[in-house]
Protein backbone atom coordinates (compact mmCIF):
# COMPACT_ATOMS: atom_id res chain seq x y z
CA UNK A 1 0.00 0.00 0.00
CA UNK A 2 1.30 3.37 -0.93
CA UNK A 3 1.55 6.13 1.57
CA UNK A 4 -0.67 9.08 0.81
CA UNK A 5 1.15 11.88 -0.93
CA UNK A 6 1.75 14.84 1.33
CA UNK A 7 -0.94 17.43 0.85
CA UNK A 8 0.16 20.56 -0.90
CA UNK A 9 -0.91 23.03 1.74
CA UNK A 10 -0.36 26.54 0.48
CA UNK A 11 2.15 28.33 2.61
CA UNK A 12 1.37 32.02 2.63
CA UNK A 13 4.20 34.16 1.31
CA UNK A 14 5.58 36.18 4.15
CA UNK A 15 6.98 39.66 3.77
CA UNK A 16 8.94 41.66 6.32
CA UNK A 17 7.30 44.99 7.00
CA UNK A 18 7.97 48.02 9.15
CA UNK A 19 5.02 49.49 11.03
CA UNK A 20 5.41 53.22 11.45
CA UNK A 21 3.33 56.27 12.31
CA UNK A 22 2.71 59.50 10.47
CA UNK A 23 0.54 62.09 12.21
CA UNK A 24 -0.41 59.38 14.70
CA UNK A 25 -1.77 57.07 11.97
CA UNK A 26 -0.31 53.58 11.60
CA UNK A 27 1.08 52.49 8.21
CA UNK A 28 3.19 49.62 6.94
CA UNK A 29 5.98 49.52 4.38
CA UNK A 30 7.98 46.61 3.04
CA UNK A 31 11.34 46.64 4.82
CA UNK A 32 12.95 45.88 1.44
CA UNK A 33 11.77 49.31 0.26
CA UNK A 34 13.64 51.18 2.98
CA UNK A 35 17.30 51.79 2.25
CA UNK A 36 18.15 53.65 5.43
CA UNK A 37 16.50 55.07 8.54
CA UNK A 38 18.00 58.21 10.05
CA UNK A 39 17.04 60.64 12.74
CA UNK A 40 15.73 64.00 11.60
CA UNK A 41 18.46 65.69 13.63
CA UNK A 42 21.11 64.05 11.45
CA UNK A 43 19.76 65.97 8.44
CA UNK A 44 20.72 69.30 9.98
CA UNK A 45 23.43 70.80 7.87
CA UNK A 46 23.02 68.41 4.94
CA UNK A 47 19.48 69.34 3.90
CA UNK A 48 18.81 72.29 1.64
CA UNK A 49 15.67 74.37 1.38
CA UNK A 50 14.15 74.46 -2.08
CA UNK A 51 12.09 77.22 -3.66
CA UNK A 52 8.36 77.09 -3.07
CA UNK A 53 6.61 74.93 -5.65
CA UNK A 54 3.08 73.64 -5.96
CA UNK A 55 4.36 70.46 -4.30
CA UNK A 56 3.60 71.63 -0.77
CA UNK A 57 4.73 68.43 0.90
CA UNK A 58 8.36 68.95 -0.15
CA UNK A 59 10.37 71.83 1.31
CA UNK A 60 13.89 70.37 1.49
CA UNK A 61 16.28 68.16 -0.40
CA UNK A 62 19.10 65.97 0.83
CA UNK A 63 22.05 65.09 -1.40
CA UNK A 64 23.36 61.55 -0.78
CA UNK A 65 25.50 59.28 -2.94
CA UNK A 66 25.24 61.70 -5.89
CA UNK A 67 21.48 61.59 -5.73
CA UNK A 68 19.02 64.25 -4.68
CA UNK A 69 16.32 63.01 -2.29
CA UNK A 70 13.18 65.03 -1.80
CA UNK A 71 12.12 65.21 1.84
CA UNK A 72 8.39 64.46 1.88
CA UNK A 73 6.25 65.60 4.79
CA UNK A 74 4.03 62.58 5.35
CA UNK A 75 1.31 64.48 7.20
CA UNK A 76 0.84 66.87 4.27
CA UNK A 77 0.88 63.98 1.79
CA UNK A 78 -1.88 62.09 3.61
CA UNK A 79 -3.75 65.18 4.82
CA UNK A 80 -3.17 64.29 8.48
CA UNK A 81 -2.78 66.69 11.41
CA UNK A 82 0.74 68.09 11.65
CA UNK A 83 3.06 66.15 13.94
CA UNK A 84 6.73 66.45 14.80
CA UNK A 85 8.76 63.98 12.76
CA UNK A 86 11.62 62.24 14.50
CA UNK A 87 12.83 59.85 11.79
CA UNK A 88 13.31 59.83 8.05
CA UNK A 89 13.08 56.82 5.71
CA UNK A 90 15.32 56.95 2.65
CA UNK A 91 13.37 54.82 0.19
CA UNK A 92 14.80 52.56 -2.51
CA UNK A 93 14.12 53.07 -6.21
CA UNK A 94 12.61 56.50 -5.64
CA UNK A 95 14.23 59.80 -4.66
CA UNK A 96 12.00 60.06 -1.60
CA UNK A 97 13.05 60.73 1.97
CA UNK A 98 9.92 60.30 4.05
CA UNK A 99 9.46 62.10 7.37
CA UNK A 100 7.73 59.90 9.96
CA UNK A 101 6.78 60.23 13.64
CA UNK A 102 8.49 56.99 14.56
CA UNK A 103 8.72 53.25 14.06
CA UNK A 104 6.24 51.06 15.91
CA UNK A 105 7.82 47.68 15.19
CA UNK A 106 9.03 45.28 12.52
CA UNK A 107 6.83 42.30 11.77
CA UNK A 108 5.79 39.87 9.07
CA UNK A 109 2.77 40.17 6.81
CA UNK A 110 1.33 37.01 5.31
CA UNK A 111 -1.69 38.45 3.54
CA UNK A 112 -2.10 41.61 1.50
CA UNK A 113 -5.55 42.43 0.14
CA UNK A 114 -5.73 44.75 -2.83
CA UNK A 115 -7.36 48.07 -2.00
CA UNK A 116 -11.13 47.58 -2.57
CA UNK A 117 -12.11 49.17 -5.86
CA UNK A 118 -14.62 51.42 -4.12
CA UNK A 119 -11.57 53.44 -3.07
CA UNK A 120 -11.18 55.26 -6.34
CA UNK A 121 -9.13 58.43 -5.83
CA UNK A 122 -5.51 59.27 -5.01
CA UNK A 123 -5.34 56.52 -2.39
CA UNK A 124 -5.00 54.02 -5.24
CA UNK A 125 -1.54 55.51 -5.88
CA UNK A 126 -0.71 55.66 -2.17
CA UNK A 127 -1.29 52.05 -1.15
CA UNK A 128 -0.28 48.58 -2.35
CA UNK A 129 -3.20 47.26 -0.35
CA UNK A 130 -4.42 46.56 3.17
CA UNK A 131 -3.24 43.93 5.60
CA UNK A 132 -5.09 42.58 8.64
CA UNK A 133 -2.67 42.41 11.54
CA UNK A 134 -3.31 41.86 15.26
CA UNK A 135 -7.06 42.52 14.98
CA UNK A 136 -6.51 45.74 13.05
CA UNK A 137 -6.26 46.77 9.39
CA UNK A 138 -3.14 48.55 8.23
CA UNK A 139 -2.60 50.27 4.88
CA UNK A 140 0.62 49.18 3.18
CA UNK A 141 2.18 52.13 1.36
CA UNK A 142 3.66 52.17 -2.13
CA UNK A 143 7.16 53.70 -1.90
CA UNK A 144 6.79 55.26 -5.34
CA UNK A 145 3.38 56.70 -4.42
CA UNK A 146 4.72 59.63 -2.40
CA UNK A 147 5.83 61.59 -5.46
CA UNK A 148 4.11 61.33 -8.81
CA UNK A 149 5.99 61.75 -12.09
CA UNK A 150 4.48 65.23 -12.46
CA UNK A 151 5.57 66.21 -8.96
CA UNK A 152 9.09 64.91 -9.57
CA UNK A 153 9.30 66.89 -12.80
CA UNK A 154 8.21 70.07 -11.00
CA UNK A 155 10.70 69.52 -8.20
CA UNK A 156 13.57 68.65 -10.57
CA UNK A 157 12.87 71.82 -12.56
CA UNK A 158 12.80 73.96 -9.40
CA UNK A 159 16.04 72.46 -8.07
CA UNK A 160 17.89 72.82 -11.40
CA UNK A 161 16.75 76.43 -11.72
CA UNK A 162 18.04 77.14 -8.22
CA UNK A 163 21.39 75.48 -8.95
CA UNK A 164 21.74 77.53 -12.15
CA UNK A 165 20.97 80.71 -10.24
CA UNK A 166 23.55 79.86 -7.59
CA UNK A 167 26.21 79.02 -10.20
CA UNK A 168 25.53 82.31 -12.02
CA UNK A 169 25.68 84.23 -8.73
CA UNK A 170 29.02 82.75 -7.72
CA UNK A 171 30.48 83.37 -11.20
CA UNK A 172 29.47 87.04 -11.02
CA UNK A 173 30.67 87.55 -7.46
CA UNK A 174 33.78 89.80 -7.25
CA UNK A 175 36.91 88.01 -6.10
Amino acid sequence: MQAAAPSKARTPRAEQIILFRIGGQLFAISSASVQEVRSVDSLTGISQAIPTTSVRKVRHTVRRHDQTHYVVNGTVHFGLPAAAASLVFFLRHTPTALLIDGIEKMTTMTYLQALPQAFCHEERDWYRGLTPLDQTVIPVVKPEGFLSTEELTLLDTAVHAELKKEAKGSAEAPE
Partner: protein, 160 residues
Protein backbone atom coordinates in the same frame (compact mmCIF):
# COMPACT_ATOMS: atom_id res chain seq x y z
CA UNK B 1 -62.54 33.94 -22.06
CA UNK B 2 -60.13 34.93 -19.32
CA UNK B 3 -56.58 35.92 -20.04
CA UNK B 4 -54.03 34.69 -17.53
CA UNK B 5 -50.99 36.88 -17.30
CA UNK B 6 -47.89 35.36 -15.86
CA UNK B 7 -46.19 37.69 -13.46
CA UNK B 8 -42.49 37.16 -12.93
CA UNK B 9 -41.79 37.54 -9.24
CA UNK B 10 -38.28 38.24 -8.00
CA UNK B 11 -36.70 38.09 -4.57
CA UNK B 12 -35.70 41.36 -2.92
CA UNK B 13 -34.30 42.42 0.42
CA UNK B 14 -35.93 45.46 1.98
CA UNK B 15 -33.64 47.68 4.00
CA UNK B 16 -34.47 50.57 6.26
CA UNK B 17 -32.65 53.91 6.33
CA UNK B 18 -34.24 56.13 8.94
CA UNK B 19 -37.95 56.30 8.16
CA UNK B 20 -37.66 55.10 4.57
CA UNK B 21 -37.32 51.68 3.05
CA UNK B 22 -35.50 50.66 -0.10
CA UNK B 23 -34.93 47.38 -1.89
CA UNK B 24 -31.98 45.48 -3.29
CA UNK B 25 -32.13 42.37 -5.42
CA UNK B 26 -31.68 39.39 -3.08
CA UNK B 27 -29.06 37.94 -5.42
CA UNK B 28 -26.76 40.86 -4.52
CA UNK B 29 -26.95 40.29 -0.77
CA UNK B 30 -24.21 38.41 1.06
CA UNK B 31 -25.31 38.75 4.69
CA UNK B 32 -26.62 41.04 7.41
CA UNK B 33 -24.23 41.54 10.33
CA UNK B 34 -24.04 43.49 13.57
CA UNK B 35 -21.87 46.62 13.50
CA UNK B 36 -18.24 45.86 14.18
CA UNK B 37 -15.09 47.90 14.65
CA UNK B 38 -14.46 50.39 11.86
CA UNK B 39 -10.86 50.81 10.73
CA UNK B 40 -10.02 54.22 9.30
CA UNK B 41 -6.99 55.35 7.31
CA UNK B 42 -6.30 58.35 5.07
CA UNK B 43 -8.06 58.35 1.71
CA UNK B 44 -9.89 60.74 -0.58
CA UNK B 45 -13.05 58.82 -1.45
CA UNK B 46 -15.42 60.83 0.71
CA UNK B 47 -18.34 58.43 0.37
CA UNK B 48 -16.38 55.74 2.22
CA UNK B 49 -15.86 55.98 5.94
CA UNK B 50 -13.48 53.11 6.48
CA UNK B 51 -13.39 49.33 6.38
CA UNK B 52 -14.50 46.41 8.50
CA UNK B 53 -12.84 43.06 8.88
CA UNK B 54 -15.17 40.14 8.25
CA UNK B 55 -13.92 36.55 8.20
CA UNK B 56 -10.45 37.72 7.23
CA UNK B 57 -11.72 39.88 4.36
CA UNK B 58 -11.55 43.66 4.37
CA UNK B 59 -14.83 45.30 3.31
CA UNK B 60 -15.33 49.04 2.67
CA UNK B 61 -18.23 50.80 4.41
CA UNK B 62 -20.38 53.08 2.33
CA UNK B 63 -23.10 55.04 4.09
CA UNK B 64 -25.65 55.81 1.38
CA UNK B 65 -28.19 57.37 3.76
CA UNK B 66 -27.18 60.96 3.06
CA UNK B 67 -27.77 60.46 -0.67
CA UNK B 68 -31.05 58.64 -0.16
CA UNK B 69 -32.70 60.27 2.84
CA UNK B 70 -30.75 63.50 3.13
CA UNK B 71 -28.99 62.83 6.44
CA UNK B 72 -26.48 60.46 7.99
CA UNK B 73 -27.78 57.62 10.10
CA UNK B 74 -27.47 58.28 13.81
CA UNK B 75 -28.57 54.78 14.74
CA UNK B 76 -26.93 51.84 13.03
CA UNK B 77 -28.26 48.47 13.86
CA UNK B 78 -26.69 46.39 11.14
CA UNK B 79 -24.37 46.32 8.16
CA UNK B 80 -25.92 44.86 5.03
CA UNK B 81 -23.12 43.26 3.05
CA UNK B 82 -23.88 43.35 -0.67
CA UNK B 83 -22.02 42.67 -3.88
CA UNK B 84 -21.17 45.66 -6.04
CA UNK B 85 -19.95 45.12 -9.60
CA UNK B 86 -16.87 46.90 -10.93
CA UNK B 87 -17.08 45.91 -14.59
CA UNK B 88 -16.95 42.12 -14.64
CA UNK B 89 -15.57 41.92 -11.08
CA UNK B 90 -17.69 41.95 -7.99
CA UNK B 91 -16.63 43.01 -4.52
CA UNK B 92 -18.42 43.17 -1.19
CA UNK B 93 -19.47 46.50 0.25
CA UNK B 94 -21.01 47.18 3.70
CA UNK B 95 -24.09 49.41 3.82
CA UNK B 96 -25.08 50.69 7.28
CA UNK B 97 -28.84 50.22 7.81
CA UNK B 98 -31.02 51.35 10.68
CA UNK B 99 -33.43 48.46 11.02
CA UNK B 100 -34.21 44.86 10.30
CA UNK B 101 -34.12 43.72 6.71
CA UNK B 102 -36.88 41.67 5.14
CA UNK B 103 -36.82 39.18 2.31
CA UNK B 104 -39.82 39.45 0.02
CA UNK B 105 -40.86 38.44 -3.47
CA UNK B 106 -42.38 41.09 -5.65
CA UNK B 107 -42.80 42.17 -9.22
CA UNK B 108 -40.18 44.54 -10.54
CA UNK B 109 -41.39 47.62 -12.37
CA UNK B 110 -38.63 48.83 -14.70
CA UNK B 111 -37.13 52.26 -14.15
CA UNK B 112 -38.13 55.12 -16.41
CA UNK B 113 -35.84 57.69 -17.97
CA UNK B 114 -36.95 60.33 -15.50
CA UNK B 115 -35.80 58.27 -12.51
CA UNK B 116 -32.60 59.16 -10.68
CA UNK B 117 -29.48 57.18 -11.61
CA UNK B 118 -29.50 55.16 -8.39
CA UNK B 119 -32.98 53.76 -9.15
CA UNK B 120 -32.79 50.35 -10.82
CA UNK B 121 -36.54 49.89 -10.73
CA UNK B 122 -39.55 49.94 -8.46
CA UNK B 123 -41.59 47.49 -6.47
CA UNK B 124 -44.85 47.72 -4.60
CA UNK B 125 -45.01 46.38 -1.04
CA UNK B 126 -47.80 46.88 1.52
CA UNK B 127 -49.10 49.79 -0.45
CA UNK B 128 -45.72 51.55 -0.68
CA UNK B 129 -43.76 52.11 -3.88
CA UNK B 130 -40.12 51.34 -3.03
CA UNK B 131 -36.99 52.17 -5.00
CA UNK B 132 -34.83 49.22 -6.02
CA UNK B 133 -31.27 50.48 -5.63
CA UNK B 134 -28.56 50.41 -8.25
CA UNK B 135 -25.39 50.06 -6.16
CA UNK B 136 -23.14 50.76 -9.13
CA UNK B 137 -24.65 54.25 -9.40
CA UNK B 138 -25.00 54.83 -5.67
CA UNK B 139 -21.58 53.81 -4.35
CA UNK B 140 -18.12 55.03 -5.40
CA UNK B 141 -16.15 53.31 -8.11
CA UNK B 142 -13.94 54.15 -11.07
CA UNK B 143 -16.82 55.76 -12.98
CA UNK B 144 -17.78 57.94 -10.02
CA UNK B 145 -14.13 58.98 -9.70
CA UNK B 146 -14.01 60.07 -13.33
CA UNK B 147 -17.17 62.12 -12.84
CA UNK B 148 -15.71 63.75 -9.71
CA UNK B 149 -12.51 64.61 -11.55
CA UNK B 150 -14.59 66.45 -14.12
CA UNK B 151 -15.53 68.89 -11.33
CA UNK B 152 -12.19 69.55 -9.67
CA UNK B 153 -13.45 72.74 -7.97
CA UNK B 154 -15.01 70.58 -5.26
CA UNK B 155 -12.25 70.04 -2.69
CA UNK B 156 -11.55 66.46 -1.77
CA UNK B 157 -11.98 65.64 1.88
CA UNK B 158 -9.53 63.43 3.69
CA UNK B 159 -10.78 61.02 6.27
CA UNK B 160 -8.46 59.52 8.78
Amino acid sequence: MSVVTEIALEAFVLLRLGERRFALKASQIVELIAPSRVFRFPHRTTALEGVILRRGRIIPICDVSEQLVGKKLTLRRFYLIAHRFFGPQKEAIALPVSGDCELITAELTPRSESDLAHVAGWLSHNGDALEILNLEALTPGPLAARAANAFPHQPAEVRA
